[in-house]
Symmetry: C2
Subunit: 444 residues, 2 copies
Amino acid sequence: MVLATDLYQLTMMAAYLEFEMSEPATFELFVRRLPRHRAFLVSAGLEQCIQYLSELTFDGDDIDFLRAHEVFANISGRFFERLRAWKFSGNVAGIPEGVPFFPNEAILQIRAPLFEAQLIETYLLSTINYQVSVASKAARVAMAAGDRTCVDFGSRRAHGPQAGVYAARASYIGGMVATSNLLAGKLCGIPVTGTAAHAFTMACPSEDEAFRRYHAAFPDHTTLLIDTYDTLRGAVRATHISGELKGVRLDSGDLAQLSKEVRLILDAEGRDSTRIVASGDLNEYKIRALLDEGAKIDAFGVGTEMVTSKDHPALGGVYKLVSKQVAGVEQAAMKLSPGKATYPGIKQFWRERDDVGRCVRDVMQLASTGAPSPRATPLLVPIFERGECVYSLPDITATRARCQTEIASLPESLLTIEGFGEYPVEVGADVSELMVRLRAEVGE
Amino acid sequence: MVLATDLYQLTMMAAYLEFEMSEPATFELFVRRLPRHRAFLVSAGLEQCIQYLSELTFDGDDIDFLRAHEVFANISGRFFERLRAWKFSGNVAGIPEGVPFFPNEAILQIRAPLFEAQLIETYLLSTINYQVSVASKAARVAMAAGDRTCVDFGSRRAHGPQAGVYAARASYIGGMVATSNLLAGKLCGIPVTGTAAHAFTMACPSEDEAFRRYHAAFPDHTTLLIDTYDTLRGAVRATHISGELKGVRLDSGDLAQLSKEVRLILDAEGRDSTRIVASGDLNEYKIRALLDEGAKIDAFGVGTEMVTSKDHPALGGVYKLVSKQVAGVEQAAMKLSPGKATYPGIKQFWRERDDVGRCVRDVMQLASTGAPSPRATPLLVPIFERGECVYSLPDITATRARCQTEIASLPESLLTIEGFGEYPVEVGADVSELMVRLRAEVGE
């Protein structure tokens, strides 16, 4: 995966080497602003970033491919030899997965020679941007569903097979209880569940027979899809199977109304314990509306809108140079482009809580300044030191549990899917002073 | 990748085996309706589907993972033995990549035992849904840019590293001339180009020095990013480098106005051949607006909006049973759910052109009916026969060229990014009659 990056990262690396720009620099990966309709974001994707940085090397094929590109025609063999021997040697700090965060807070902070820090930008961004998008959307879906369960059903609409696995993972962290994606279960240890599909019903001689066969194969785990032909008739037919029926699924039509009618049909046949699962282009707003209408739905299968974060399909995470060492002296760096200015300096982000543990505010300060108050805890924790991973990655179920706890500790004004407040992230006096000084210097 | 599918595909497979439902069935993968703002879709992703079907097997690990899942507690060992020995044995037809298509036209048509056809649904959908989305969006971007060149810069905002590669591939087919993604270059044979980044400028002692160094390393391939501090000063500094300068890039601010001023600065210094590249959250509408404003831009770097197909980030491709064999007799199948009804039967999709080769209409007919007219050509071509690939995949550059030609042959009313007409896809009398008959039968 070392070539899963932009060409200009490699050209910049070659130029850095050519001009012996080998001193360390610090980059921060952060989001400039919250997408509309998001009160907070949820950290996710760190595990994949750790795997990537741990395993990253150039093999002979990769180097041959680069050498053959005309852009490197004037670059000496020294560059390619350097790539051949290379392994990530830097320090990384990061916000643990499942932790809510806000704009301008570094999700990852990389301290490494420019040569190395540049290479990894594209991969880290694509991994973090996507998983954060999905975890954040999933948190909203879970919030809307309250104590109903939600399951990821979105693999078929994710942006390719890998995105389906990462969506399962990120949405589990953000609040789903399971996924339908088997590979996500195998690779990431997420619970995998499922129902049945229209094709099965259509492949059988009749709907009655389809239900009987499916239940015979999976007597303890059958959730029947009942809307292939006529939903209410399907519900009646579902009650005909002998033995326990775990659930029925509705995937089309007026889900609120149908769920009430189906509930009556099931209850009339003593199927009180049979759960009603709903699916079909659901999102947090539709779930909220269904529950407001009194829908008798016990679980939601959520797909397309969550795995593509459809209302905000691209998180604008960026990776910016905030400090560099020049002749042994650390120099803070900032960009001044209109609307794209950055906060300079190597920072820490502190979260302050009140007596009952509820988050009150975050504070951005230079890392060298120290905690703004005794009760502030740092968001960034060490992940890599000198190229070695020093972070003990929690089990994904523990990460999911942490996410629930952390979200619950946010100000209540943020815990709504619409009309939420804004969480205060204060810029420390040290950072503000640094900005004034740098603007004066580079403004010329 | 065999587990990159939904659990219910495997449970259905187990039930099919249990009830000896081993006869062949036909599924079609299609889109029900065009996303708003799309006059047509572009076929893409077939290469990955072919790779997947060619290589698909269950290894011991996969089978152990499945066996351990509680849902399979009552399933006999025969099922797992069958998986161990399994290889795709079906027939596949498909629309070649780069060909425009319309709703209800099968992009892929799979004929295989239910057991096999079911398994592959999720992977095929996620691959086709995503690549078609991006190829179709890229076609619009290229249309807006006219004879200016457009390059994919979107990897960092794609939904994970694999999506970045697939976006590069699909957008190249749809009309980009290159990508910044090196892995896409290596794996898919797409031209890779790039410029420079803000980090390089910020890492150097000054902007002047950054430009000098980058140009020294890449004398024939330097496109300098000039907006790190002040764009017009950056443009002046770019003219200070000695030797040829291929291009400058603008990534922020009023691109139309800045490009005109930068053009004047470059021309005043005899840099007539230096091209101006623009980037920064571009899409087809912004490109059109820039050109309408007389922007002096020669090339566009397009990222986020294209690789996420941001205005329609999820294509609703579906995979539906259209026919099955029962006791040796073929039976057409259709779904009746409200808004989700399907066209039954094994179909062919015919494209009719006028005397100058311009597309006039498509016709959906049962495959057994034959061509609707002598000048109609079929969209579906053979891809697999009895599990063996029989399709000779064109080089991706040939596919891209075909895409250009095919799009140019669409009715002119479709070749606009706004206010386009609707292309006629006619439902053959044979299909209509079949629908009436089936509705009567299953409607009971």
